[in-house]
Symmetry: C2
Subunit: 128 residues, 2 copies
């Protein structure tokens, strides 16, 4: 299997797992992030699982549903790294008729035998 | 300057330069890509500046205007790498009243003293 195909398969599985965890077991998200992971949410960056989880908890929704439109993936700069790029929509607290478009970029890396998130950048996408 | 701030400054300058080159000197874009750069355009991936430039030339527009909404950046997995994440809109052939939303992720790396693109993933963003 070539590197590009490997990244694509890993990316698809990762995105499925990530957003399913987000929607159903949000407290488990922290374990997906590396100790020094960067997370940028609408332009504000925090570092590490503790601050990332605090950021999620502060978002103030009680329910969220993500829908994935596209997942692209490429091999990163060193062995075991992959960039995953997702577009989709999400709805909060049952407002399924008012979904928000988003796109999100992850970089994954091998750490101690596991695949963890080292970069995560999230933006809602709307007319500027 | 911390790594995050350095990436942000580099990201802002890169995005300005990249889209200005795209809009005004598209034939110069090839020199911004590493020899083994990956470029995914709407799910199709090509590798290297020659195939990337052929992809741009095959898009069939005679004029394009990008407008950047947001630029986020983070340090990548190894020294000298940076992820740059852009949202914005573009209009082709003067259709400024029909802009298309897009988001695009780059990864930059040092190569022979220059900063080059090693990853590029582009998607238009619209309701799925």
């Amino acid at each position: 299997m070539d590197r590009q195909t490997h990244s694509s398969q890993l990316g698809a599985a990762f995105a499925q797992h990530y957003y399913s965890t987000f929607d159903h077991n949000i407290e488990n998200l922290g374990s997906l992030y590396a100790d020094n992971a960067f997370f940028s949410f609408e332009g504000n960056c925090v570092i590490g699982p503790v601050d990332i989880m605090n950021r999620f908890r502060s978002m103030g929704f009680s329910q969220i549903i993500h829908k994935i439109f596209t997942v692209d993936a490429q091999p990163g700069p060193v062995e075991g790294t992959h960039i995953i790029f997702v577009t989709g929509q999400f709805a909060i607290d049952g407002e399924v008729d008012k979904p928000h478009l988003f796109s999100e970029t992850f970089q994954l890396a091998q750490q101690g035998g596991s695949v963890v998130i080292i970069n995560d950048i999230f933006r809602r996408v709307s007319q500027g």
